[in-house]
């Protein structure tokens, strides 16, 4: 499997994501947001950070980066698109995922480790987790308050598109949403950072199964 990690100006979790993928044996590389082609890749990761300084709105400016048409093409072609934190914000701004990430209900940046429940186990992102598992994953954001209108929410619920929920909602997200996917299941975004939870040395390995899930689903699809 070949994976691209998109580096936008201001991305700062791009290397964390690259190293995480490489730890799982993935042939991954950083691709600048100035590039325009992604045809060589099976999966595309939009990492966390402050693309364009988070100026105007998080993700608002990054979505107009040259690479984004290639991301859209890849999405339409059914390739896996994964947005973490700022990557999730960019995907919603680009309309690849519904809704928007607003300022936290109590305004201010929070860095913490929070419990998540897995709302849908049969996804490319969660299939390796145990059924009853609740996991703890780091968060680090000031705009993680997921909002969508009622129709959208009803659709997300009905189609099982909600992948992760917060156990104790830290930011005001509707329906405790921490991560969602599109209807087809190939575009996914979440605010928490599984790439920060893969190594025993840093004290948390609950993100490992996230990567294992992606690997196994890509391998079975190939």
């Amino acid at each position: 499997m070949k994976a691209a990690v998109i580096s936008f100006p201001g991305s700062n979790c791009d290397f964390d994501m690259l190293y995480a993928l490489q730890d799982f044996g993935v042939d991954a590389q950083i691709v600048s947001a100035k590039q325009t082609a992604l045809t060589d890749f099976d999966a595309i990761f939009l990492p966390g950070g402050f693309s364009y300084g988070d100026y105007l709105r998080t993700g608002a400016i990054a979505r107009f980066s040259p690479i984004m048409s290639a991301v859209t093409q890849a999405a339409n072609a059914g390739k896996l698109i994964v947005g973490i934190c700022n990557g999730f914000q960019i995907l919603t701004e680009a309309g690849l995922l519904p809704g928007q990430l607003l300022v936290n209900a109590t305004p201010g940046f929070i860095c913490d480790e929070v419990a998540l429940s897995i709302a849908n186990h049969e996804t490319a992102y969660t299939n390796a987790y145990e059924m009853s598992e609740s996991i703890v994953v780091p968060i680090a954001h000031g705009e993680g308050n997921y909002f969508a209108d009622d129709d959208t929410l009803a659709r997300l619920e009905a189609n099982n598109q909600i992948v992760f929920r917060y156990v104790n909602n830290p930011n005001g997200s509707v329906h405790d949403i921490a991560g969602i996917m599109n209807e087809r299941g190939n575009i996914f975004g979440m605010m928490p950072h599984p790439e920060r939870a893969i190594d025993e040395v840093t004290g948390n390995i609950d993100g490992q199964n996230f990567f294992k899930s992606i690997l196994s689903s890509i391998l079975t699809n190939v």
Binding site: L56, R57, A60, I61, F64, E93, G99, Q100, L102, V103, N104, A105, T106, P107, N145, F147, A148, D149, G172
Partner: protein, 88 residues
């Protein structure tokens, strides 16, 4: 050159946490007459355009495309003709 003043606010149905925080701070500071606060964005954009109609179209286009998120925000704007100087 035209100057567009663009006022962006949340749609009424959206909870504005910043507005709420400011309101309670004002109350704590004894501004007891304050009933409601909302915080939005205010842009000043200078642009050249052939006519006021062209400028209007331009402002609407880029505000829809970039300056607001249509899920949650709405806007109005004023447009006026101004002298041609821009601060570097």
């Amino acid at each position: 050159m035209y100057l567009a003043k663009i006022y962006v606010t949340y749609k009424p149905s959206i909870l504005d946490p910043q507005g709420e925080v400011i309101k309670s701070a004002l109350k704590r500071m004894d501004y007891i007459g304050v009933e409601q606060v909302s915080q939005g964005k205010y842009f000043e954009v200078k642009l050249t355009a052939k006519s006021i109609d062209a400028a209007t179209a331009e402002v609407e286009s880029f505000t829809d495309a970039l300056l607001i998120n249509q899920n949650t925000e709405t806007y109005h704007f004023d447009l006026s003709l101004v002298a041609d100087e821009v601060n570097a």
